[in-house]
Amino acid sequence: MAEEKRSLTLNMGPQHPSTHGVLRLVLELDGEVVRRCEPVIGYLHTGIEKTAENLTYNQAVTVIDRMDYLSPLTNNLAYVLAVEKLLGITVPPRTRTIRVMFSELSRIASHLVWLGTAAMDMGAMSVFFYCFREREKILDLIEMTAGTRMNPSYFRVGGLLADLPDGFSDKLGALLDEFPTWLQNYRDLLGSNLLWVERLRGAAVISKEDALAYGLTGQTLRSTGVDLDLRKAQPYSGYEDFTFNVPVRQHGDAYDRYELRLEEMVESAGIVRQAIERLPDGPWHIDDWRIFPPDKHQHVERDMEALIYHFKLFTQGFKVPPGEAYQGVEGPRGEIGCYVVADGTARPMRVRVRAPSFYNLQSLPLMVKDRLIADLITAIGSIDIVLGDVDR
């Protein structure tokens, strides 16, 4: 009798501790080997793009925030820059530098969550506690500036929510001083841990050709040897003035991506230090009351005209001339882009987001085909998806 080959169909998720959210995977297993993997998405579909159409341009910042919730500020940056492109305005240098600084801080915070959770997937619990302890310090800085820890909506069209508070640079300086010891800690915990190295090295491999064909960005692309970082390739918000390297690796495996993220954190910390050291004085928002609200104490409470502008801005918003604009920025996960279509009213006609996690997730079936199911866990961790970003 011929031996019958049978495969087992296994449903993984949407509630599973290592799918990093509500990702569902339908697996076809042959023993412990994954023959087919089909991601099923949509369990966190929020309708953010549609909701943004019903909000004024500044209100839409709040929903864009909640997309990639590990790094809300880079979402903001893509959207705000796209709208500013449509309006044809340039923000003052101080605003640009503060935006760069906070984008890099949130990149570090995001990578810390990634490191903690990816290590937890591999069974290394304590890394999680270290990473979150240190992430709290970055969240403290965001909280003292924007008022909330997560989802701060700090970047606004034409400026920021507020200027940096007193004592910010001292606190940031202290953080940057102890930053190298954090990194050393993680390297000590993981880099010399044989379990970690063995499970990551050679797992979740993707070739350069596939990575390009699938439209991957971020570390998943850079681990295959492609040197693409939008901060260098298409500088925005004044990134061309900063000195930093874009680390690239060649193997395209999970270990490369881990190393890339650690090195990117070092580069990010370097950018933050440059930003705070040469933070220009001057205004932190544009001086146009039709777009950016006049200061409450300085103008609104004294000047009738300012009051009218303030009122009109918050009840009706500002009108954007018809047109369309796309702005991509390098988020912690890759290219996050905002495509905004304006029809001359105070609300966007269409907001479309190019979410890096969505594209990167497509590579998962390729990475895990004919590999062990344990490598699947490594693969999910290594591409660093955020389901809020995938489903929007």
Binding site: G21, V22, L44, G47, Y69, F132, R133, R135, G388
Partner: protein, 168 residues
């Protein structure tokens, strides 16, 4: 023979004893949806240390959990899954609705998001915020502990079930 109070005894009822044990060993289901899940993780992590309240044992299987923290927005597609997870949890069980989205839909009043998780599961404690800070979640858990100590039925289940049945 002296009174019992002088002896090394503690007099209580079985019910109170059980409630005391339940209150101090809440096992939440490890189940996050969106932004709030990250704050839930922060609550369990070093600074806020959920272990101080005996609730740090996050269980990946709903069958080992007795608290469901609905952390984040519940999409229409997720709602039946969420209900199934709730049904898989053994009694007695409690639900914390964490954040504005889980409580009432939050900023997402649209076609995709369930306008409040109490449409599919009975909720014991609502924690406001977008997302709530870890302190707020800790406060929610303390409130739940008080509720457990006070006794009674975990939440008005019959009512919530009737509500679910009434909705299309």
């Amino acid at each position: 023979m002296g009174s019992l109070e002088d002896r090394p005894f503690l007099l209580t009822s079985v019910d109170r004893m059980l409630r005391w044990a339940q209150k101090n060993s809440i096992w939440p289901a490890q189940f996050g949806l969106a932004c709030c899940a990250i704050e839930m993780m922060s609550t369990a992590a070093a600074r806020f240390d959920l272990a101080r309240f005996g609730a740090e044992v996050m269980r990946a299987s709903p069958r080992q959990a007795d608290l469901m923290i609905v952390a984040g927005r519940v999409a229409q597609k997720m709602a039946p899954v969420l209900r199934q997870i709730y049904d898989q949890m053994p009694d007695p069980k409690w639900v914390i609705s964490m954040g504005a989205c889980a409580s009432c839909g939050g900023v997402f009043n649209n076609y995709a998001i369930l306008q409040g998780v109490d449409r599919v599961v009975p909720v014991d404690v609502y924690v406001p915020g977008c997302p709530p800070t870890p302190e707020q979640l800790l406060d929610g858990i303390i409130k739940l502990q008080q509720k457990i100590t006070a006794g009674g039925i975990p939440a008005n289940r019959g009512h919530a079930l009737a509500q679910t049945a009434g909705r299309p």
